[in-house]
């Protein structure tokens, strides 16, 4: 399949709306201004756990320009789960639009709508909330302690465990030559899309609620709004304008409900947007996790048994709590040929901000433990980590091809070693250590004598779609215009990841068109066919496949119409560039001519529509290599070289693959070295702005070399698999392994910032 020559597939095509983005023309949700639009402001809890006894709005109401104040007492209090995926999705409902019992600092209490933002902000400050404080549980341990206060009455703090296993783990451990047990902890971090969450709700006099929102999940948001406000879905429309990044944080319903409540009260459009601080505390975080990992290994390096015991901190409400530990359970089985594995995972409710989806969805936590421990085991047993990986990684020959396809983590590792110069870098280190032996005179006088170098790598994996968990479905429509160009109606949400561009490329490739010949209508629940939502790395694997099916359907329509037009059998006909049909007898017609013929002679539209359900699971893999320098005095880590190689099956849009990978690396580097949401003893976020919450900046980035393994056999389009989430999975363990190599410390936590290294020094001494 890969030998075919493609015009577009595999090339690099800029994101479809790049020109509007570079000139400032793009309208994100926050740039929309509807006539008579009001501006909203939320009042968020400053208590970690409390009953709201009363809300005094009298001063705020007196302020000129205030139009409405929505509170738990005058707004629907119907419970919902903000991470609902489809109408019959059965997950615990614990959230309401406004909370009468606040469960974290940042919980929504009420909201004001006013004629401008300044007035709304001022009014929100005038609202007085009277609380009755309740004990708060701010950690997994506190929440699980005997007698701990329970956050909700319909679920316990310690949510139901998910258990999965293969083989006989106990037997595996009994037979293993060595057993290692380690506990790892990963931090709570923020997805931190550059665009803060924002929604505009517009409830009109026909009783129709239209919501423009920065969402990845329009159809699920419609389900939630329809349920909470008791509106038929014909009276709820959710539209996604251009998204300024998402990374999972824009899957759940966050601002749509409060904005709708205000609009229903005022019968005017209301825009509600988060400030950066509000996005940090009141949108979603990545689950912090504690992972106990027990590994049984033989003298020859064969891993014979592995047991994962995971607890995640899911914050104050049950959003995607079950889904994240559930998704995590799949990932630990994918990379290695381990005959006996067990996984037990549970989410724990605490009085902290709500954890949800974030790029990787459980993989970054589990794979950190997996890859960190594997490197530590290699060191403890004085084994070569490369040999250890080679001995255990899956290969296409060692798996059931029906279930796993052609997994190539080993090829990623081998190619990565080559690009990185792994052997040379190891030799350099060995030589340096023997020559200097710590007493070399030149070394002593070297101004950089406090600098230690290290290398590390990690293998990561992530899925493609949600097959196996539940339905994985999308409908698509393609309309031919009068001139033979096309409009694609797709319920997908481009987050900047070129999801729409890839769909255009696939349609254009198959219909012998150019990318510019296709325009797209994106997620709009009244207009586009149903789509599950853009998460789980579905973009290429599921939507791309659907798009291929759609292009074939349109191709059939065109050929059939041309066959009637030419009076020739369809076997004679084929599509040729650009947008033409040619017969073996030499007849030719443009799509425009065919459209005109169809309209004039048959009074029919050229409209293709498909439904596509994904019926396969595949895993994407990546191997990341990094060289670091650690200054033992300042405790600063500098990144020197970085290499990332990913098994993507087949590159669809090479430019966006590279871009996704580079962005995933930035996110992972922060996870490893600088990012962590820290809370005080009252549950308040300490680093609540971008000065204190440290994302990687341009000058902190290493030079990055990238390559792809393209040996696709996957059911994805042209053999393609995902990159979006997988991109960030191997980063943190690779970096921490390299720092561990440089300093000789056996890290079990992240981030490895100055405090992290100091803590290790204390522990080691």
């Amino acid at each position: 399949m890969n030998n075919k020559e493609w015009r577009l597939i595999g090339s690099g095509v800029p994101i479809f709306d790049a020109k509007n983005k570079v000139t400032g023309k793009t309208r994100y949700t926050g740039d929309i201004k509807l006539p008579h639009m009001l501006y909203g402001k939320l009042v968020l809890s400053d208590k970690a756990h409390a009953r709201v006894l009363s809300i005094d709005t009298s001063e705020a109401e007196k302020l000129e320009g205030v139009r409405a104040i929505a509170t738990p007492f005058n707004t629907s209090s119907k419970k919902y789960n903000s991470a609902l995926r489809f109408v019959d999705h059965d997950i615990p409902k614990t959230e309401t639009i406004f909370s009468q019992t606040v469960r974290f600092v940042g919980d929504r209490i009420c909201a004001v709508a006013a004629v401008d933002q300044k007035t709304a902000d001022k009014a929100a400050k005038l609202i007085r909330v009277e609380y009755e404080e309740l004990p708060a549980v701010l950690s997994i341990e506190e929440a699980m302690a005997e007698g701990a206060i329970q956050l909700h009455d319909n679920v316990s703090n310690h949510l139901n465990e998910i258990k999965v296993s293969v083989g006989d783990v106990e037997k595996g451990f009994r037979e293993a030559d060595f057993i290692f047990e380690d506990e790892y902890e990963t931090p709570i971090v923020s997805p931190m899309a550059m665009e803060n969450h924002v929604s505009i709700a517009d409830f009109d006099d026909e009783g129709k609620l239209t919501v423009y929102s920065s969402t990845q999940n329009s159809f699920a948001i419609r389900n939630i709004l329809s349920d909470v406000f008791d509106l038929p879905q014909s009276k709820v429309r959710v539209i996604k304008p251009t998204l300024g990044g998402a990374f999972g944080s824009k899957i759940p319903a966050v601002l749509e409900g409060p904005a709708a409540a205000l609009s229903m009260m005022t019968r005017q459009p209301v825009m509600l947007n988060f400030t950066r601080k509000e996005t940090l505390v009141a949108s979603r975080t990545r689950h912090g996790a504690k992972i106990r990992l027990k590994t049984g290994i033989n003298k020859d390096g064969t891993i014979v048994a592995q047991a994962y015991d995971v607890l995640t901190n899911t914050g104050a409400y049950v959003g995607s709590a079950y889904n994240v530990v559930g998704a995590m359970s799949h990932k630990v089985f994918k990379s290695y040929r381990i005959p006996n594995i067990s996984y037990t995972g549970a989410a724990v409710l605490t009085n902290l901000p709500i954890a949800g989806a974030m790029r990787g969805y459980g993989s970054p936590q589990a794979i950190f433990a997996q890859q960190r421990q594997l490197h530590a085991i290699a060191k403890r047993l004085d084994m070569d980590i490369v040999t250890l990986q080679r001995k255990n990684l899956v290969t296409p020959e060692t798996v059931d091809p029906v279930k796993m396809g052609s997994p190539r983590p080993l090829d990623c590792m081998e190619r990565g070693m080559e690009l990185f110069g792994w052997e040379d870098k190891l030799k350099w280190k060995e030589n340096k250590n023997t020559i200097n032996n710590g007493t070399d005179k030149q070394e002593q006088t070297d101004s950089r004598r406090n600098v230690k170098r290290g290398v590390g790598f990690a293998i990561g994996c992530h899925g493609n779609g949600v097959y196996g968990a539940h339905r994985d479905f999308i409908g698509l429509r393609l309309k031919m215009n009068d001139d033979g160009t096309f409009v694609l109606e797709t319920g997908t949400h481009d987050m900047g990841n070129s999801l729409i561009t890839s769909q255009m490329m696939i349609v254009a490739e198959e219909l012998q068109a150019q990318v510019n010949d296709i325009s797209a209508v994106e997620a709009d629940t009244d207009l586009t066919p149903w789509n599950l939502g853009d998460y789980s790395s579905r973009g290429i694997f599921v939507t791309g496949s659907a798009c291929l099916k759609l292009a074939y359907a349109m191709k059939d329509l065109i050929i059939e119409m041309a066959s009637a037009m030419f009076q020739e059998p369809v076997e004679n006909l084929s599509l040729v560039p650009y947008r033409k049909v040619r017969s073996t007898l030499g007849k030719e017609a443009s799509f425009q001519e065919i459209f005109v013929y169809a309209q004039r002679e048959h009074e029919t539209d050229m409209l293709a529509q498909v439904s596509f359900g994904s019926l396969a699971a595949r895993t994407s893999f990546g191997a990341h290599f990094v060289q670091v320098e650690v200054d033992t005095q300042t405790k600063e880590v500098h990144l020197l070289d970085y290499v990332a190689v990913h098994d993507v099956g087949k590159a669809i849009n090479r430019m966006s693959l590279e871009g996704q990978l580079e962005g995933g690396i930035q996110m992972g580097l922060g996870y490893a070295l600088s990012e962590q949401m820290t809370f005080d003893d009252q549950g308040r976020l300490i680093n609540n702005n971008l000065k204190k919450y440290k994302m990687f900046t341009a000058s902190m980035m290493p030079e990055i070399k990238i390559d792809f393994v393209e040996e696709g056999d996957s059911p994805g389009p042209y053999g393609g698999k995902s990159i979006g989430e997988c991109a960030t999975v191997p980063v943190a363990p690779a970096v921490v392994n390299a720092v561990a190599d440089a300093l000789g410390y056996d890290f079990h936590t992240m981030p490895i910032d100055v405090e992290g290294i100091k803590l290790m020094e204390t522990l080691e001494s």
């Binding site: 983005k21 570079v22 000139t23 950066r276 871009g659 690396i665 930035q666 971008l690």
Partner: protein, 160 residues
């Protein structure tokens, strides 16, 4: 209260009843519908709202509007020349430096400020010039590539 007169993208705007503490970003976005500069943090940390103020890249979210009187303000909307993209904009498109695009206006403004004073920056100099511009999508890699490319395009244009 005297109206505030601001020169934005080579046009004068009269803005009424501007309070002392109103930011330039608020005037641009809410009063004039110049929405190219983005509000990402309001604390001067993300750079999405950058504009050129007398040629210097500043955060509009922490710049008071009334301090800009008498100065030249260029926003992302004023970078292209009558519909012709600036080389920086062309390079951002072609090199794949644009993903979600929310940081893009600020990135291009910072890059323009850099290239106006340093037409041949090293990759490290480019990175340093972007240190007050945050991006979550690109890892900055293709942004740095695009700025390098644009610098080269602009040097060629100067020679021709």
């Amino acid at each position: 209260m005297e109206p505030l007169i601001l020169n934005i993208n080579h046009r004068n705007y009269q803005i009424f009843q501007v309070e002392k503490n109103e930011t330039l970003l608020s005037v641009l976005r809410y009063r004039l519908d110049i929405t190219g500069p983005k509000e990402g943090c309001s604390t001067g940390d993300c750079g999405a709202c950058k504009v050129l103020l007398d040629g210097v890249a500043v955060n509009a979210c922490t710049t008071l509007a009334h301090r800009c009187a008498g100065k030249t303000i260029i926003t992302i909307e004023g970078i292209a020349d009558a519909g012709n993209l600036h080389p920086l904009q062309t390079a951002f498109v072609e090199k794949g430096a644009v993903q979600c695009g929310f940081c893009t206006p600020g990135m291009i403004i910072s890059a323009k400020a850099l290239l106006d004073v340093n037409p041949k920056p090293s990759r490290d100099e480019i990175r340093k010039a972007l240190d007050n511009n945050l991006c979550r999508c690109t890892g900055y890699v293709k942004i740095v590539d695009a700025i390098e490319e644009a610098a080269e395009m602009m040097r060629k244009d100067d020679h021709e």
